[in-house]
Amino acid sequence: MPERDEPTGALVRPYAVTRGRTRPKLEIALEALVETTVRGRSGMMRGGQGGSEHQYIAEMCDGGRVQSLAEIAARMQLPLGVARVIVADMASDGLVAVYEPTSLDDETDAVGTELLERVLSGLRRL
């Protein structure tokens, strides 16, 4: 597990990947799921544009292996904010699809209740 207790100059480097941009084109939840699209897959095979990070993410989330934003950041050892900018770029280029979590805010909403029931029965089956 990487240990970084003190801020270091190295932390600035990852933002080079995003050319200094820290504002993502799209707000993406930590647990939002990312899946490579057909377009992302063909971009991957052609060598892609957007650099090795795009390639890596497209491979990681291909073939039905959805990954959360948090997993992408952790596996690439990028700060969350950097991973979010990259994934948002890829989504806006149609290379990945982002599936946001189901909202649980409205307590009268049957969709949220159904989700909780699925979680409960899934946990019981574990």
Partner: protein, 195 residues
């Protein structure tokens, strides 16, 4: 890794695992996760106002906050994530992001250091995020009186207080089940009789 035909909408949910330093959060996550718990880091500026987004500029003092998390495939189209809160409660900016959209939280408690969880409880109450108390039974401290803990924490009588062994998968599973049952019960109650 779950393979999935492209039918149905995939979605995810999360549960927050909170508690004081060294109370067993990572252990609990690891005992049920299908992946070895991963760590992700966020950056904030020294001013404490800069969240990990638009204020991060080279040259400013920065600090990182690490969260670990695990994953459970609930069914073909639903993945549950368990996020451990950063050890230091001063990183509130990360807590905001952690609780947003969460099902609820598990507040882990070590009865020898009860006060360590006060900050987490305050935070969840303020955010109205449902939580339960899980007393982590370290060796030789098996039988705690749930009522004593409830009194000491001054929590409302409907908040579940359960005991667990964070190292044990079944035990952790039961904690998560209790939390989701609790959330569902509250939801049904409120849906019938809106406040």
């Amino acid at each position: 890794m779950s393979h999935r035909p492209s039918a149905g909408r995939v979605t995810s949910a999360k549960i927050v695992i909170a508690g004081g330093f060294g109370v067993g959060k990572t252990t609990l996550v690891g005992s049920v996760s299908e992946i070895t718990p991963l760590t992700t880091e966020a950056i904030m500026t020294s001013a404490g106002v800069g969240v990990d987004d638009n204020r991060q500029v080279p040259g400013k003092m920065t600090t990182t906050v690490a969260m670990d998390f695990g994953r459970i495939s609930i069914d073909r189209d639903l993945i549950l994530y368990l996020f451990g809160t950063p050890g230091q409660t001063r990183f509130w900016f990360m807590w905001d992001e952690l609780v947003r959209g969460a099902i609820g939280a598990v507040v882990m408690v070590d009865t020898r250091r009860l006060a360590d969880c006060f900050a987490a409880i305050d935070f969840f109450e303020h955010r109205r995020l449902p939580y339960l108390i899980a007393i982590n039974c370290f060796d030789g401290m098996q039988y705690h009186n749930a009522q004593d803990v409830r009194d000491a924490l001054a929590i409302s009588s409907d908040v579940p207080v359960v005991s667990c062994d964070a190292r044990n998968r079944e035990s952790t599973k039961n904690v998560l089940i209790s939390l989701v049952e609790y959330v569902l019960t509250m939801r049904r109650t409120r849906a019938v009789a809106p406040a």
